[in-house]
Amino acid sequence: MTSVIKVDPIACDAYGYCAELLPELVTLDEWGYPVVDGGPVPPHLVELARRAAKECPCRALLLERGADR
């Protein structure tokens, strides 16, 4: 199983919690919107990623689990 994080760009309002909680995978652009690389989330960060997704006030950060492709 691999997990990836995605940002729903319409829902996102640049609260920036994701970059605070998950700086390993999320950086912010100059306007405060998250930049993610779309690659698989390393296993040791999955729990943090789940928490970041849960804390997003806009529910714009999504942790998606998928089968290995």
Binding site: D8, P9, A11
Partner: protein, 452 residues
Amino acid sequence: MPPTTTTTATAATTPPTPAIEGSQRPGLAERATLLGAWRARRNPDLSSHLAHHGPPPLPRPGETSWRERFAATLEASGLTGRGGASFPSSTKLRLVASGRGSTTLVVNAMEGEPASAKDKVLLSCVPHLVLDGAELAACALGATRIVVCVADDQRDTFDRVVRAVVERTGTALTPVPIEVRCPPRRYVAGEESALVSWLNGGPGAPGWRPDKSRPLTIRRSAALVHNTETLAHMALIARYGPTSFRSAGGADAPGTALVTVSGAVEHPGVYEIAMGTALRAVIERTRPIDEVAAVLTGGFGGSWVSGAVLATPYAPRPLAAVGGVVGPGVLVVLTRRSCGVAETARLARYMAGESAGQCGPCVFGLPALADDLGRLALGSAGPGALERLEMRVAAADGRGACRHPDGVARMVRSALSVFSVDVAAHSARRPCPFGNEPSVFPAMGVLRTGTP
């Protein structure tokens, strides 16, 4: 300028009297071209259409093998979508046809791309060819409804389509009923999820679709969106067969294509060319006013190519090899009398204004890009401005729900490469003598850097 060449992409309020020329390429069956009927008869009515092409081969009642046959014919033709994505039409049809429930076929004639006029030309000159294609595609899908979408600033086109629909209603040519709608004009309104959003009573803005393989739905049933030119080709392919379609173009990119050529040319207009025709041959027919310095391919969200690559065949793959795109079939010609950086700044400003306003990177990123480009063109960019511009291009790319910011990023990136000499000069605070010449893009106004 001769009186027959009055079409410009933004001639929204004037009735379309398009400059249309066919490919006079020997061996191309003139009768089986998109605009052949118009050239021969200059009459968009149903009687004229049927006299030229005969009736479309729609399924007879109980003809169960028809769908399979149509799908096979379409696949053999190698037709690809002409709205911008160049996706194989037979595959697209199969994806939705395999679904259940009542399906809607949407004819996308929104023409949000300001430098394109082909939807207007097709629906004004050969509306019944497009409607034939829509009926054929609808029958192939088992669709129960056809909706033609024409932008609300194109009243003449809208009226022409309504007239055509009335002409064929109640005849055997309309097995699936046709509605005509006019969503508000906007660059992104023709993006398929935006169009479907509007048809669902929504705002007509693009949606975020992380899984593009899931079909769009209108009132919970599947919707398939096809471009007008694609459907017109289907109407020809169903009649004349895949071999006729493949008699123009190459094995890789068969058929003819409509190209809207504008910019610094004497004869702007919509041209039907064989796919694979050299860019130079296409452009020379429109009589450039001076030596061609660069060409914007694929529209405002497309890509600039240098005037040095005009030997390139006009087709998706060869164009991609030189950094160009076919997109919705647009070429805008720039001569050395224009500043490519200034023109790019104007395009970026326009595109920033056309954002649907939903995604931060597009809402904030595109105006910032346009500001940077404007300052660059006017020679007032400070040190490090170019690096910041490049960073902002990267920050826009791929970060919206739809591909609007991606298109702008691509177009700006191509400009920085194609106009690199000018970019370097402007970065060194040498403004351009052509910077405030009138734009080759209609109604673009004067260059400004925006509010700081």
